[in-house]
């Protein structure tokens, strides 16, 4: 019987009411406990979970409305029914405003009580079933930390799971923020190398010589500043997976070095003669069209083929909008845990806007937007205005003001960074400058990766 799981707490200062109502509900199969006053009811609420609280409005000391308030704070999902000896509009309004499920006027009709309890039970059952179903669905839509119900992504998951079992090189293609590294980590975790290290390297973040030493390590004295021998990422990833992010950004010399390692699984440290052999699975990633770059002679064709053994293309978020609600729910849940506060979700118009947005920064941008929303939101529901989604007017200078060239540049750089979800490489490409120049401009104007002003005292 479904009622067995329903626990009802009856609170009334009159023993005869507690007895007769408790007895009646027990015959309905509910688990019933009675309490004679507010404070003892609160103690019960603090100690255990309850499904329904039936509380008398008028009690000496702590009254029903005070119990209601405290109960909703302790157990927000609790259905609270207020009992009153005579209904006045005021008490009914106060009870409903305070979050009561309903109220009953004593003595009440057995049919009314029976129907009300059944309604609460079936609603709570629906909520529980919904939660279980959602969790089951999430498992189905999940590949480790990746979440999607789109058919395109489902086949990505399938391919990735199959590829994980082999040691072949995998090339992950996808726009910035689409989750290339998350997929690489998932493949590593699914592979027989899961116990080994996962070593990520961003090839775009370093100059060619630094990247060379980063990848292969160096011997002491091999260049100015090389004061000690240092192992590179290839050695660090021995027995595991090396993730080469933004592999399309590496220069010609490193392309050749990388090709050699991929062919021979052996290399030298910078400035060293010793041949070092490693057992490393390579997962490379890029948001560039490497095939086109290879045809145009900007990327070694032989290296392209070495990397392109198993290509996996992650579709951009705008091509799988059906994932937005699923991802929103997932991030909102995670943000709630991280921020230790209650976030129930986003408002319907916020969801509409999120569904309509183009997401150039993909899932990363979505997460950033939701994080901002969660910080700014005053209630448990994130509103449209909290999200700060860029409207077209934001990028253009405000009418009626004549800004300096520097001011316009600062604003534009910040807008592009916000647009790409903080992706420096993509922002640099949009702006038509190299990354170093962009970093310099960010430093100069005090702009953080997310496009926000970093200057002290800046309004946030």
């Amino acid at each position: 019987m479904s009622n067995e799981r329903t626990r009802i707490l009856v609170v009334d200062d009159e023993e005869i009411v507690r007895e007769s109502l408790g007895g009646w509900l027990e015959k309905d199969g509910y688990t019933v406990v009675v309490a004679p006053d507010g404070p003892s009811a609160i103690a019960r609420l603090e100690a255990e979970r309850w499904s329904i609280l039936v509380v008398d409005l008028k009690m000496p000391g702590m009254d029903g409305l005070q119990v209601l308030e405290e109960a909703k704070r302790l157990q927000p999902e609790l259905a609270v029914v207020i009992m009153t000896a005579y209904a006045t509009v005021d008490t009914a309004v106060a009870a409903m405003k305070g979050g009561a499920y309903d109220y009953l006027v004593k003595p009440f009709d057995p049919e009314e009580l029976s129907i009300m309890m059944q309604k609460i039970v079936s609603q709570q059952l629906l909520v529980r079933e919904n939660t279980v179903l959602r969790q089951a669905l999430k498992q189905e839509y999940r590949f480790r930390d990746l979440l999607s119900k789109s058919p395109a992504m489902q086949s990505v998951f399938e391919l990735a799971k199959t590829a994980a079992r082999s040691s072949s090189t995998i090339l992950v293609l996808g726009e910035s923020g689409s989750g290339k590294e998350v997929l690489a980590r998932a493949i590593h975790a699914e592979s027989p190398r899961a116990e080994g290290p996962f070593v990520p390297v961003s090839c775009a973040a370093l100059t060619e010589t630094l990247l060379e030493s980063e990848l292969f390590g160096h011997e002491k004295g091999s260049f100015t500043g090389a004061t000690a021998r240092r192992k590179g990422k290839f050695e660090a990833a021995d027995g595991g997976t090396l993730f080469l992010d933004e592999v399309g950004d590496i220069g010609p010399k490193l392309q050749l070095d990388l090709l050699r390692v991929l062919e021979e699984r052996k290399f030298h440290r910078v400035g060293g003669n010793e041949t070092i052999g490693v057992d490393v699975r390579i997962i490379a990633a890029t948001n560039r069209d490497l095939r086109k770059a290879a045809v145009e002679g900007k990327f070694r064709e032989d290296l392209f083929y070495r990397l392109n053994v198993i290509p996996v293309l992650i579709p951009p978020l705008r091509a799988r909008r059906e994932d937005v609600p699923l991802l929103v729910e997932h991030f909102v849940e995670r943000l709630g845990i991280e921020m230790k506060r209650r976030i129930d979700g986003v408002s319907p118009d916020a969801m509409t806007a999120l569904m309509a947005h183009d997401w150039p920064g993909n899932v990363r941008e979505l997460r950033n937007v939701l994080e901002r929303g969660a910080v700014v939101a005053t209630g448990p529901v994130i509103q449209l205005a909290d999200l700060g989604l860029p409207s077209k007017a934001d990028v253009a200078p405000r009418p009626g003001t004549l800004a300096s060239l520097e001011e316009v540049e600062k604003r534009h750089v910040a807008a592009v960074l916000a647009h790409t979800g903080g992706n420096v490489s993509q922002s640099a490409r949009i702006l038509g400058i190299d990354r170093v120049t962009l970093y310099n401009k960010m430093r100069k104007y005090g702009i953080r990766r997310d496009g926000e002003d970093d200057s002290p005292g800046a309004a946030r």
């Binding site: 007769s20 003595p107 009440f108 009709d109 029976s114």
Partner: protein, 177 residues
């Protein structure tokens, strides 16, 4: 095996057929002897002049004192019953106890239109239902089961006078209750 006693405690003259019908139904439903208990006493102190109804809880306690010393006892009355929190009840029982009471006062709805057999059937159902509580059974969602909740005559008419297989099984495990 302890019997179930059926005792007319109404103010009007009892209808012997009605009481006999209840007795037969109880004997069949609980597979044990059921007997008529005859006593002159009536629970008049249970009358609440403010509500103009009889308090069923008071009657239950009185049945234990004034009725037979053993077995289960079902008081059948023509007076309207209430418990303090509800406007009326068709009957009440001690869950897993000895005493139960049912009233015909509200079961007579539409009887004039349909015929006296309707009241006989309704009373038998509510009698089995209340004695079921005295045997420790709680309300049941099984289709047509007599232990289904019936806050109005509509629900009484909709259910059967039988215990469903599950309630019967529970009855077996709970024994005398």
């Amino acid at each position: 095996m302890d019997p179930i006693f059926v005792w007319w405690i109404g103010e009007e003259e009892p209808d012997p057929q009605l009481v006999e019908h209840v007795r037969l139904h109880l004997a069949r439903a609980f597979r044990r002897p059921a007997a008529i208990w005859d006593g002159e006493a009536r629970p008049r102190h249970a009358f609440d002049p403010r509500r103009r109804q009889h308090a069923s809880g008071v009657i239950l306690r009185w049945l234990l004192e004034a009725g037979p010393g053993g077995g289960k006892v079902l008081g059948v009355t023509d007076r309207d019953l209430f418990i303090p929190i509800l406007t009326y009840v068709f009957g009440e029982a001690q869950l897993g106890g000895r005493a139960a009471v049912v009233s015909t006062a509200r079961l007579v709805e539409d009887v004039e239109l349909v015929g006296p057999q309707l009241l006989v059937e309704r009373l038998a159902k509510e009698a089995v239902h209340e004695i079921g509580h005295a045997f420790g059974l709680v309300h049941c969602d099984g289709e047509g089961c007599v232990m289904g909740r019936s806050p109005a005559v509509r629900e009484v008419d909709a259910k059967s006078s039988e215990l469903c297989a599950e309630c019967r099984a529970r009855l077996g495990t709970q024994g005398e209750g």
